[in-house]
Symmetry: C2
């Protein structure tokens, strides 16, 4: 007998039929002899309906009040799911985030979980109840309702699994696991059985948006095995867990890509301490998030500095960068919106030499020019012209035998 | 400077425009120098929408889970109203029932308020905030969400006014006060400026359903002045308060009536101790509420026993009563669905002799036969054939100079 935490997202609880379907899945897990705690999101469309109401009143609504409003979405789902479970003879109790003491900081609309007091939940589980908890929400020290931001239900599930020392945290979604790459680009893409937290973190941040990034960090920190599964199809999904020393790992687990990037370069910047901050500080002040950052060694007494931003922020960043260039006495600012980032990810590359050169050769064989390169321990990313996206991904998927 | 509690019902907060209208009314009260706490209901239609969802899952849903579900209705309104107040420059904070510690018993869907810890609310008011509280809901000792039943927001408002020792509790609704009788029956009906708690209790229970009965009991117990006003029109409404010794009261304050009654009589029941319980016990066990009860003095060794029930319960009560009659050896059961109850109410009748005879004469002058009579300290009710309803009410309204 194990303790399983299951999380069902908005699509999985999108209407009464689907909530009934979730109840059946939960009951089946219980029949297999396991204790179950379920975390649910708001019914699909509900959060947007509430946001529209708020915006009709005031586009600059207070974050505290927005949290009071939005947290009702999950509260509706927990009550309905508990009713659906009871109807099929499965004892169940629902709780809001506040009721199970999911204590967060006070950063409304993007709060972070600080602590969970799982005593009450533990008692209910011991009494044979299925416990249904509202995802995405908590309370701060003063008892104010907070929310964890979009996708925060994943984090709720992982945090509860950690607090309860659960055997597995199962994230039910509309895909049946994590793939070697996007099957729409490479039809031979294959579902991965196993992935490490680090690999999943690199995957998620690169656009394979199956799981919320923060929930993976949380899982990694507390060592919670996380399984991504489909709500609508049977299957084992993908298990995300700590790296197993005894396991032979493939060199590369997947090829990720991101279409939404744009690059900006400031040329001929005086090469002196603090220059990176002088450039990126004002960009951050504009609330523009920067992804890749590359600074090459200086020639003469000047250097070139390149970074990528979300494509939607390109014009704003370009405008700001031109003013920065004037202030710093830089030579020129150039940019390109028609780029994509392609990455290979795998913990296996740590123990295998020549992964980078194999990657570069595969791209070169297809005549693809690499514009930027950035590497981490378990990931190599390149920026290429957007017209080469599909070709690059297929070439790399093939090169590392992922099919 | 006074502390005012204002309550706005579902129609008053039925859409975004109306919520904005409520915000303006609250802001106006504040500009007049008063502290304001606002209690709101769910937006009109929302509670029914949620009930439909619950019934789609399971018609016999758990009361605990229903409370989790329904309490979201008011939570949406508090957030939206707080946003609307902030938008017009009025600092505001919203709270659920649980957050302001509206402690109730554990009778889900019909809980009773046990205690309120108003410390947090008091602090916010002292800080210059408008406090917006969700009506209709609380928590029990174990932290479970409870609801007070339909119309419970009135009780929330009165209870908060009592806990805060507020100067007045204003109930905003879609009528502009309490009338001497229903203006649809008597066009000359007049809005009452002043009414005692006792009179309002008799009014409310007789069908002038402006205020929830329990909230008036609460107001009477804690001596909270309650004012009924219109959300949509200006005016002073009706103030409901304790009887003022120095005030000259009219003999009769109003004429109430109830169309929904039916009467049942069991004839020739053995006249012995416990017979009333033997008759009404089984009726109560069927969840049938009994209104008037009349037992006349016995002739021979048998007596006749008459009571009224809601017209919807007539057939069920008749069926049950026939079985009771057989068990008790009574002679016969008769009943009539085509009756109405008409009452005159007024604390003034305590000090005026002859009110009852004036009432009976007025009805007799119109040729109206009285079928049953029941009296209390401040009320006289008669049952008449339903075809005489309008005529009776007009005759009594005229007799006691209420126009």
């Amino acid at each position: 007998m194990a303790l399983i935490v299951q999380k069902y997202g908005g699509t999985s609880v999108g209407d009464i039929d689907r909530i009934t379907n979730v109840a059946n899945k939960v009951a089946k897990t219980r029949k297999n002899g396991h204790d179950v705690l379920v975390v649910v999101s708001a019914m699909r469309g509900e959060t947007n309906r509430l946001l529209t109401l708020a915006n009709e009143i005031d586009a600059r609504h207070s974050p505290r009040e927005l949290d009071v409003l939005l947290s009702t979405g999950e509260q509706v789902t927990i009550a309905l799911l508990a009713m659906a479970l009871q109807k099929i003879g499965c004892p169940a109790r629902s709780y809001t985030g506040g009721q199970v003491h999911i204590l967060t900081d006070s950063a409304h609309t993007k709060a972070r979980i600080v602590d969970i007091d799982a005593a009450r939940v533990r008692q209910d589980l011991a009494d044979g109840q299925v416990v249904v908890v509202a995802g995405f929400q908590g309370i701060d020290e003063s008892g104010n309702i907070t929310t964890l931001g979009r996708g925060g239900s994943d984090t709720t599930a992982v945090a509860l699994a950690a607090a309860l020392n659960a055997d597995e945290c199962q994230i039910y979604t509309d895909v049946d696991g994590v793939y070697t790459t996007d099957p729409r680009v490479v039809p031979e893409a294959r579902r991965l059985d196993l992935l490490t937290y680090e690999e999943m973190l690199e995957m998620a941040s690169l656009g394979a948006k199956v799981l919320q990034l923060r929930s993976v960090e949380f899982a990694s920190k507390y060592n919670v095995p996380v399984r991504v599964l489909s709500s609508f199809e049977e299957g084992d999904g993908t298990l995300i867990t700590v790296e197993d020393e005894e396991m032979e790992r493939p060199v590369i687990s997947g090829v990720a890509f991101n279409r939404d990037e744009a690059k900006l370069t400031i040329l001929g910047v005086p090469d002196r301490p603090g220059i990176a901050f002088n450039i990126l500080g004002p960009i951050a002040d504009e609330n523009i998030e920067v992804d890749m950052i590359i600074q090459n060694v200086a020639e003469d007494s000047t250097t070139d500095f390149t970074f990528t931003v979300h494509r939607n922020d390109y014009e704003k960043a370009l405008d700001r960068l031109q003013r920065i260039a004037k202030e710093l006495g830089a030579r020129e600012v150039i940019g390109d919106k028609r780029i994509v980032k392609v990455s290979i990810i795998g913990v296996g590359m740590r123990s295998h030499a020549g992964v980078a050169s194999a990657m570069f050769k595969a791209l070169s064989d297809e005549g693809i020019n690499i514009q930027m390169i950035s590497t981490s321990e378990i990931k190599i990313s390149v920026v290429v012209d957007e017209k080469y996206l599909e070709l690059s991904v297929r070439a790399l998927h093939n090169e590392f035998n992922l099919a």
